[in-house]
């Protein structure tokens, strides 16, 4: 099965993801995705260089989550492809960490915080092997990175929204990936968590990681990120913040409704 058991305890050493490497971290080319023959994404082309903090921004129904799911191979494109460091997702999945929307799971599931974080190692563990001491240590370290180590033994239903979000972040961190894809991590979290997440994002960038975030709040985009993709079924604009995050592009993305957009 693809889900491979050959991994040693730590992910193998990888070529450092230099920010100016020739191979883009993510290359989306001519991507079209349709649900029931209704296109949700039309012919998207994006090159995400390694080492950037990229926000995907657009109105509701713009296909932001779909784009992220297509990057992860969760939805099958009608045309086009996504390459992760030059290869298909299947072969590169160990280099990608995913933070889904917090509301996508049942938080009353009978499991502990540490256990959820350890799930990030399941892919590397392979069939039939149980997580052991090594996985516990990695998970605990990841929890420390998001200031949640005190909650390791807690049942997940007893967490606040922001804490749940940080647990999901820790679960992605424990994957020790080079690319992190996060779907609305700031959705409904408290100020402390928002601050913690943004600190973490910057730390990841400092380590040369690539972070792609589906984001809702236009006001904080220039402050938090250095690249941005404006999306509304089609790619409206994509590139470094200063070049792309302009009034004209925004109004194009939101169909002239920008005035109403920046609110929390």
């Amino acid at each position: 099965m693809m889900y491979q058991p050959h991994q040693p305890h730590q992910p193998p050493p990888r070529p450092p993801a230099a920010p100016h490497a020739a191979v883009p971290a993510i290359a989306v080319s001519d991507l079209t995705v349709a649900y029931h023959e209704q296109p949700v994404l039309w012919d998207i082309d994006l090159h995400v260089p390694a080492g950037v903090l990229l926000a995907i921004v657009g109105p509701n129904g713009a296909g932001k989550t779909t784009l992220m799911k297509a990057m992860l191979g969760l939805v099958k494109p009608a045309a086009g492809q996504v390459a992760i460091f030059g290869g298909p997702y299947r072969q590169q999945r160990q280099r990608v960490g995913y933070v889904p929307q917090r509301g996508s799971v049942d938080w009353d599931f009978p499991t502990s915080v540490l256990d959820v974080v350890m799930m990030g190692r399941y892919g590397a563990l392979g069939w039939f092997r149980r997580p052991g001491r090594n996985e516990r240590d990695l998970a605990f370290t990841a929890l420390q990175q998001v200031n949640m180590e005190a909650y390791a033994a807690r049942q997940i239903s007893q967490l606040s929204g922001g804490q749940q979000q940080r647990v999901f972040l820790a679960r992605a961190l424990v994957q020790a990936a080079d690319i992190y894809l996060m779907d609305e991590p700031f959705q409904g979290v408290d100020a402390v968590t928002e601050h913690a997440i943004i600190e973490l994002l910057r730390e990841l960038r400092a380590q040369g990681k690539t972070v792609v975030v589906v984001h809702h709040d236009l006001q904080t985009v220039p402050e938090y990120f250095d690249w941005v993709t404006l999306l509304n079924v089609r790619r409206i604009a994509h590139g470094p913040m200063a070049e792309v995050f302009t009034e004209a592009n925004l109004s194009h993305t939101y169909g002239g409704r920008t005035a109403a957009v920046p609110r929390r």
Binding site: D30, A34, E37, P39, W42, D43, A79, R234
Partner: protein, 368 residues
Amino acid sequence: MTSQQEVQLIAAVIAAACALPGVFLVLRRMAMMSDAISHTVLFGIVVGFLLTRDLGSPLLFLGAVLTGVLTVSLVELLNQTRLVKQDAAIGLVFPVLFSIAVILISRFAGNVHLDTDAVLLGELAYAPFDRVVWQGIDLGPRALLVGSGVLLLNLGFIGLLYKELKLATFDPALAATFGFLPVLLHYSLMTIVSVTAVAAFDAVGSILVIALMIAPPATAYLLTERLSTMLWLSVLLGVASALVGYWLAWALDVSIAGSMATMTGVLFAGAFLFAPERGIVATARRRTRQRWAFAQQMLAVHLHNHAGSSDEAEECSPAALHGHLRWSPDFAAQVLQRAERNGIVRREAERLWLTEQGCRLAQTAGAG
């Protein structure tokens, strides 16, 4: 009227009575409530019988209806503790009440007409022998009278509260702001479902009640989206299953209720496969058509997006369709052929140009 005709009439009336509230159960995502209610009404009947020792007593009917409503409240109570999710709550409540009823029957009422096979299947064939006689005049089989009464009640209920039910089903929040009291409406509907289940239970047993309440509306929902059409279509489908099921049972000498339930399934399977718009066959054909149209649109958008870009020459060539869009060479050739025929694309050697019509197509595509 012969007793055979009477049985058919009873079956048809009950099928019609069940289909009406069933439509709302299906639309309000509460279909499994009918499973719960149809099982638990037995509890009310048994307790009523043990108290009155008379199977004909109206108290049995009342007790059964109350148990149906009690079931709904218990499920909601469990759900409100937040310890149990809705589906599990249904799965907990009805087996308990049904189990108690089965044990009470076999312990204390085993020698009377109530027995466990009848519980599941009813005894439609014997229904004509239980007649209502008033001052020496034969008014007809009891099941027919009760069934007709319930059918009228359901018609009246839906007729009177049609727009309220419709709004509460499709937009409960808005209905609440209009002061339509969704909770009251919900419980009235559940009472109606209970009354119907009790009336049908006697004749056709608890399992067929579910079949008659859910399958015809589900079939109708594949054929229409209009509530009014769905209502009469469900009634029609229910009655048809009842009659055909009856004849089949007669021909094969098997359980009438089982045969009727099977027929509701056969009708559903027919609609699932062959419904004019929603059926598998129609969908597949539409998909194929849309796939070509969509592929041409995709081609137009692709050419449009890359027009004027630095990689224009490379992207706008027939070869790119295979390499970039990940189309198989065969598929790409066919799309191109169609697009050319439809005047979307012009081809000059290894270079594709969008026609004016193609440009318009690209701009309108994905504008939403």
